[in-house]
Amino acid sequence: MNTNNTPIAELNNICKQFRLPTGAEIKVLENISLQIRSGEIVALLGPSGSGKSTLMRILTGLIAPTTGEVLAYGKPLPGFHPRASIVFQNFALYPWLTVYENIAMGLEWLKLPDDEVRKRVRQAVDKVGLEGFEEAYPKELSGGMKQRVGIARAIVVQPELLCMDEPFSALDVLTAENLRAEVLSLWLDHKVEITSVLFVTHDIREAVFLANRIVVLGSNPGSIRIILQNDMPHPREMRSPAFLAMIDRIHDIITNAIIPDEIAAVTPTAVQRHIEPLPYVSPGEILGLLEILDDQNGSIDMFELAQKIGKDFGSTISVAKAAELLDFVDTPKHNVIFTDIGKKFLASDMNERKILFKRQLLSLRLYVVISGMLQKSARLNLDEEIILEQLAIVFPDEDVEKLFDTMVGWARYGELFGYNADDKVLYLDTGQETAG
């Protein structure tokens, strides 16, 4: 169908902006150029907020980019990509259709004779191991089986490019492991006529295990940090030194991008000069991180931490960053280690913790500014609206309401100031509540 020279799909200088309900523009992708050629498995790897799913949707033509060029076989994409299909994160099966009907759905527009449809669906069912479930409805299946239907539906149309949007992330660990290996063997054994695979993931191991090209994305706005070639032969052994070295390398790339080492260089207790947004993390999560650190004798690898707390890498980094902002931990490279303040904080009782937490809050410019505003206000309180407006000006790229909630959460924990949700006002905690 095509020579190896023309890419199956190609992006040139893609930018994508969304308009928030508040009217603000938010940039999710910036200046992305990427080519998918035949015979490769490409991973789009990035933390949450890196726009990786959006990128896949632009590549296949589900979403139009704000600027830039999308090509299929060297020509501008007409609507949806003619030879691509997609496996969705949450399966996207039609609950009122049987497994058979769901799979056959993709074939209808080809207007094949009934016999041919039956034959193709049966083959797809065989390949993903769904024999005997043809007449079942999706709600009767487990998550793993549902995703098998999703995969069968995607391969039955014999696509050249199979796209998968975090295909295993809604499954439990064991099921995901199993299905991942099966998908890989489908491809390796040429059981399916797919020439290329593109998949979106936040799981570094998954990317290294499956892909021979890994596109590492950075966030805010999403952009390509680096594209890594991964030529390890299949099947890949997850504990082999080469595999682990690859994972380490990607860790370094991601963590350095998200937590620049300069932050750690700011002298502790001195108030920052810039206002920093807070990661959307609760004090409880920070405390949880410190507890785990304590169990691990004060130092843990960021990746290990992600597994321990059962969160994706992006969220884990947010927690670590929050703890670092408060100077409870340091994050040299991709390690997390205790600071003295952090140790002291964990060893304290409830009251001392609050006092310490409050002191650390007051080392953050954001809290200094807002406390100052509150003190200057006539009745020691301020409307939520005013704060939201200020935050929106200072942090045009942030979700201001989420930031506000986080900020209030921390302030409440440190008893720095309070928030009355009925009247929607912040008030200074002076021991006695201000009259509403």
């Binding site: 949707r57 296949t60 589900l62 007409p78 609507g79 949806f80 691509a84 299909s85 997609i86 969705f88 994160q89 949450n90 399966f91 996207a92 039609y94 609950p95 009122w96 259709l97 759905m105 993709g106 209808e108 527009w109 207007k111 409805y137 999706p138 709600k139 009767e140 539906r153 149309v157």
Partner: protein, 579 residues
């Protein structure tokens, strides 16, 4: 016990059900031929009604057919209107507020225009009048269905939409495989409510006065109104029995099977433990004849037809795409302009007509309209407050007791479907014995029609209060009063607001029959906007009619916007149990 055994035997004897199916089909056919004859017969504006109980089955069937024809129109309207509003952003901005306004116009606001226009179109046959009646019933059915369909379309998950594009379903398949199934359950429940809403004004829709002319169509509504005007209490009771029978039959033989069948379109990941069942549907599944029709006639026909439509649509879509862009653009903008000009012309024409109608009303008449508005406002408020005070304890008692709610919910549904205006004369009789006049009595009449909405929602709200929250209440030894204040009232609040909104809307609409009640040869009139509207319609005073309908619709929309929407917001943000 013997019933259950008979039922089991019925289920075992396959094929037993077929003769019944044939019989039912035959009866239906016979009835429809009768309806056809009636509709095509020479125009008789005022038909004589036979008050003998033996005439009632025929009349009931006539009314039933009107209800179903109106429902069919509602369904088509809903799908077209909802679809356009959901997918055309520009149209949506006009269509959704317009729907809000249309919803709050009482049926009499449509009546004169409809009747005059349709009778003019069909001067010789009954079709014009019949259609007028059908469309009046339609105005009582359609709006909530349209809202439901529109909201369903808007809430289809993104990934499902994307699969439709990835697998190139095209317009028709996307509609039949994704959009219609996704909206099915909401549409079915709202259809049931709509049918009930359509019956509410049956007496008005079938028998009405317009200026000097009287119109009356053969039907159970007319039967009732004749019985009322003659003060024939036994006939009124017959009519009530016939109506109740019809509602139960339609519920059991039409809605229950559809609700049970629609369960396959439920959008949930895991299988529910208990889902609605219908014994009629189970029986119909036993019919060999229906199986034959389904498998050998309907399915092949549908699939070939569906393929043809789908391919046809794809061909059209392709053609459009292959048109040179500038021509396509030209056509798009041209048709857009033509549509725009057409709409603007219609609006201007309507506005001009409205202006000439309203121009003749003088200042004192306007003053009187607004004064009457206050009276009706007070009654609506009183009816809702009273309904709330009575229905909260009952609804909570039913809702917190699973056994009771399983038994009583269907009963409540049937009660709610019964058109309250049919009971008005009997209630008036009782009230006058108790020495209550129509001015206060109208509140009771309004209450009769609208209390069910409150009851429904309170039951649903109480059922939704999680068990663990109630256990916490027990553990912390809350007193009866504390339990109500801390748990039950906040818990039912969101659904109570929903109930209030529907009840208030219903009360406003009901005012046109509750404030103006025919009783024997007298008419009891309570001071208010509702009676003003009905009176203006009866006397053919179109200026006052239009003005008061506008004032009422405006008031309802304003109150919705400025009060209920805000209350909704509070209910959703502060009292929602879904968090």
């Amino acid at each position: 016990m013997s019933l259950i055994r008979a039922y089991v035997r019925l289920r075992r004897s396959v094929g037993w059900i077929d003769p019944l199916v044939f019989l039912a089909l035959g009866a239906l056919l016979y009835g429809l031929v009768g309806v056809g004859k009636e509709w095509q017969s020479v125009l008789r504006p005022k038909v004589e009604i036979d008050l003998s109980p033996w005439a009632l089955p025929k009349y009931t069937f006539f009314s039933l057919v009107r209800g179903f024809v109106a429902y069919a129109i509602s369904l088509v309207f809903t799908i077209v209107y909802g679809y356009v509003a959901a997918y055309n952003k520009k149209a949506e901005k006009v269509m959704i507020p317009l729907l809000d306004i249309l919803q709050s116009i009482p049926v009499l606001g449509f009546l004169p225009t409809l009747v005059l226009a349709l009778v003019a179109v069909f001067p010789r046959s009954n079709i014009g009048l019949e259609l007028a009646a059908v469309i009046m019933i339609f105005t009582g059915q359609v709006w909530n269905m349209t809202f439901s369909f529109y909201n369903s379309l808007r809430s289809i998950p993104t990934e499902l939409r994307e699969t439709a594009r990835v697998y190139k379903l095209g317009w028709w398949r996307q509609f039949t495989k994704l959009e219609l199934p996704y909206a099915a359950i909401g549409l079915v429940w709202n259809s049931m409510m709509s049918m009930a809403g359509g019956w509410f004004f049956l007496t008005i829709s079938e028998a009405f006065v317009l200026g000097t002319k009287e119109f009356r169509l053969p039907g159970i509504g007319s039967y009732m109104s004749v019985a009322i005007s003659q003060g024939n209490v036994p006939a009124m009771v017959y009519a009530i029995i016939a109506m109740t029978t019809m509602i139960i039959v339609v519920d059991q033989f039409f809605w229950r099977p559809i609700v049970a069948w629609a369960q396959k379109y439920k959008f949930e990941d895991t299988e529910a433990s208990e889902s609605p069942k219908s014994f009629v549907l189970d029986l119909l599944h036993q019919s060999r004849f229906l199986k034959l029709v389904r498998e050998d006639v309907w399915q092949p026909m549908y699939s070939s037809l569906s393929t043809r439509v789908a391919n046809g649509v794809v061909a059209i879509e392709k053609q459009e795409r292959t048109l040179p862009p500038f021509i396509g653009k030209f056509f798009k903008t041209l048709s857009g302009w033509v549509l725009m000009v057409a709409i603007i012309t219609v609006i201007l024409f309507g506005a001009w007509k409205l202006f000439t109608l309203l121009f003749v009303i003088n200042g004192s008449e306007w003053l009187s309209i607004f004064l009457h508005l206050l009276f009706t406002f007070a009654r609506v408020l009183a009816a809702v407050v009273l309904g709330t005070l009575v229905m909260i304890p009952i609804g909570v008692a039913i809702g917190l007791n699973p056994k009771l709610s399983r038994v009583l919910q269907p009963v409540v549904q049937v009660c709610a479907s019964f058109p309250a205006p049919m009971l008005f004369p009997l209630v008036i009789l009782v009230l006058s014995r108790a020495g209550i006049g129509i001015e206060l009595g109208a509140v009771v009449l309004m209450l009769l029609g609208t209390q069910w909405y409150i009851l429904f929602n309170v039951i649903a709200g109480a059922m939704a209060i999680p068990q663990d929250l109630r256990e916490v209440g027990n553990v912390s030894r809350l007193t009866q009063w504390q339990t109500w204040k801390r748990l039950i009232l906040p818990g039912i609040f969101p659904s109570l607001v929903t109930g209030w909104v529907t009840a208030t809307g219903g009360a406003w609409n009901a005012s046109i029959v509750a404030e103006y009640v025919h009783f024997g040869d007298r008419v009891l009139i309570a001071t208010g906007l509702g009676s003003t509207i009905t009176n203006a319609s009866d006397t053919g005073n179109f200026g006052v009619l239009t003005a008061s309908v506008l004032v009422m619709a405006g008031t309802v929309v304003m109150v919705n916007k400025n009060f209920w929407k805000k209350l909704y917001h509070i209910a959703e943000t502060q009292f929602s149990l879904n968090k």
